[in-house]
Amino acid sequence: MTGEVVIRAEELTKRYAATLAVDHIDLEVHAGEIVGILGPNGSGKTTTILMLLGLTEPTEGRAAVAGFDPLREPLEVKRRVGYLPDSVGFYDGLSAHDNLAYTGRLAGLSRRDIDERFADALAKVRLPDVGRERVGTFSRGMRQRLGLAEILMKRPDIAILDEPTATLDPHSTQEFLDLIRALKSDGTAVLLSSDHLDQVQRVCDRVALFNQGRVALSGSVTDLAQQVLGGGHVIDVEVRGVGVRDRLVGMPGVVRVQVMGPQLYRVDCERDLRPEIARLLAPSFELTGIRFAEPSLNEVYTRYFDEVRHAA
């Protein structure tokens, strides 16, 4: 978290009649950071995004996006934010160029800027030859990429992406995630809502886990793992040899040893046992790696909602 805060929500709340869609959430996103927002359907992710864009009015609380209040200064906010909605829609009867030229003009771009940026953006999203084709002929994946091209054309300070990879195949997803990383490297802050936990884990610096309209957990994936999976240490050991597991199980402080692969062991410990494990194995075995295991966001997510269900 190095850059200035570009999105700040304080006690942001949205109530629809008797339903509390978003319940006093606090959220911060810094410049050049990718923050993922996760949670089951109806947990308030999209409503939060719409409030940050000034597209729906909060019932309580306040927000600042790029230094502007989305409620009072929505045009200033929207000039600086690129938004890719869930299942993005285009005018099917218009070409890709005409669709993006329309939103480009609404965003205040000149005709010349539009033409220059359009070709560049389409090349970046790997749709270089379809500019004059009607969007009605595009697949869902192509539409999603075109949506990202629209954001690239706008060159915003902040990109808000709502379920951007939901309709993409694995190869396109990987390309899309690369493009999101490229946005970050250009200094753009990205707020990414997704149900694909592995993707979120791959690109996001921090994660906010939404549940019933509240931010239940937030921080890096390691922070979340500490909070949900407990304070213990999980160490991955890469080592060649026979009888490694038995040696590890017998060590003081080791709680559990799992064999993850032919030469990979995952050790749950009461404390950081990396030096002791290295000293134990190095003389007798070929030790090729020892490090803290990357906690899985999927595991964190599943464990958290299991606990919530049990508590209920």
Partner: protein
């Protein structure tokens, strides 16, 4: 709470895009074909009939619009009165719900514009398309009349016909606003179109025949009493009639295109004292006569649009 920036930012861009869509779409081709056929057929038969009786009226071009030429059972104004609401509904029934259904609304409103700009731009673009269709119709009839009669319209006729064109656009604007409102209220375009057409049918066929006499009788008593016609009934009936945009439009057409028309309500003997029966009113007097109806149509259009505007502002934009 005051929002920064103008609500009209981007209105011109929306208007230009929507107008281009409307004017280049297949819907407009169908409308223009319909307009062309109506103009050609009616003007042809009307001019044929007028040529046989030339010299009987000083207002040949007005007759062109008001006569029902044999073998066609209705006049140009009857036809325009019937076709204009259908064209207006066809232009407006999917104006807003299509944006929801195509999932384009949130993407467009994420650009630096207010909802006001989107709604006003869309409405004005459709009103422009409607005005172009009606202007084409008007010019076609004028052109065919000019060619077939060999005479240009007089200045007086031209002013009256222009007034009629403006009234027709305002009348179409009312039905456009109705269709627009339903396109905001109903997410399914078919439902919006059906409800708008249903309302038009009510005002076209059932209002004067069933609803008006029934309600007027309840309020003011039977149409006739022992002394003759019941004036209270007639006046109530007229007020009720004028709720219908069709009545307002028909009254405007009558007063502007038939210059001898002196009143649009019940005629009393005192009003006829000193009058030369059948003598035409000057155009300015006819305009004074229809001014309430014309402003009524424009006000109705604005009011219905304003209702739609308020509803749209309160809607959640997520699909």
């Amino acid at each position: 709470m005051r929002r920064s920036g103008s609500p009209f930012t981007g209105t011109g861009i929306v208007l230009a895009k929507e107008a281009a869509d409307q004017l280049s779409g297949i819907r407009m081709v169908v409308i223009e074909t319909l307009v062309f056929l109506i103009a050609l057929v009616l003007a042809w038969f009307s001019t044929t009939a007028i040529r046989e009786s030339i010299g009987q009226s000083p207002f040949l071009f007005l007759r062109l619009l008001t006569m029902a030429p044999d073998p066609i059972p209705f006049s140009f104004i009857d036809t325009v009165g019937l076709v204009t609401p259908i064209i207006a509904i066809a232009l407006g029934f999917d104006a807003v719900n299509a944006e929801f259904n195509q999932r384009t609304l949130s993407r467009i409103l994420a650009q630096p514009i207010y909802r006001d700009a989107l709604l006003i731009g869309k409405f004005l673009a459709r009103l422009l398309a409607l005005a172009i269709a009606l202007l084409s119709l008007w010019l076609l009839v004028l052109g065919v009349g000019f060619l077939r009669l060999g005479l240009p319209p007089s200045g007086e006729e031209l002013v009256r016909m222009l007034g009629f064109l403006v009234a027709t656009i305002a009348y179409g604007g009312v039905w456009l606003a109705v269709a627009f409102l339903f396109s905001i209220l109903f997410r399914a375009p078919a439902t919006a179109a059906l409800v708008a057409l249903g309302l038009w049918l009510v005002f076209s066929f059932f209002w004067s025949l069933i609803i008006k006499p029934l309600v007027a009788t309840i309020i003011a008593g039977p149409p006739e009493d022992i002394f003759g016609p019941n004036l209270a009934y007639i006046q109530t009936s007229q007020v009720l009639d004028r709720i219908s945009p069709n009545t307002l439009y028909a009254e405007i057409a009558l007063a502007l295109l038939q210059p001898a028309t002196r009143t649009l309500g019940p005629v009393f003997i005192s009003q006829l004292r000193g009058a030369l029966l059948g003598a035409p009113l000057p155009a300015s007097q006819s305009f004074i006569l229809v001014w309430p109806q014309l402003t009524g149509l424009i006000a109705a259009m604005i009011l219905i649009f304003a209702i739609g505007y308020v509803v749209f502002q309160r809607q959640e934009i997520r699909a």
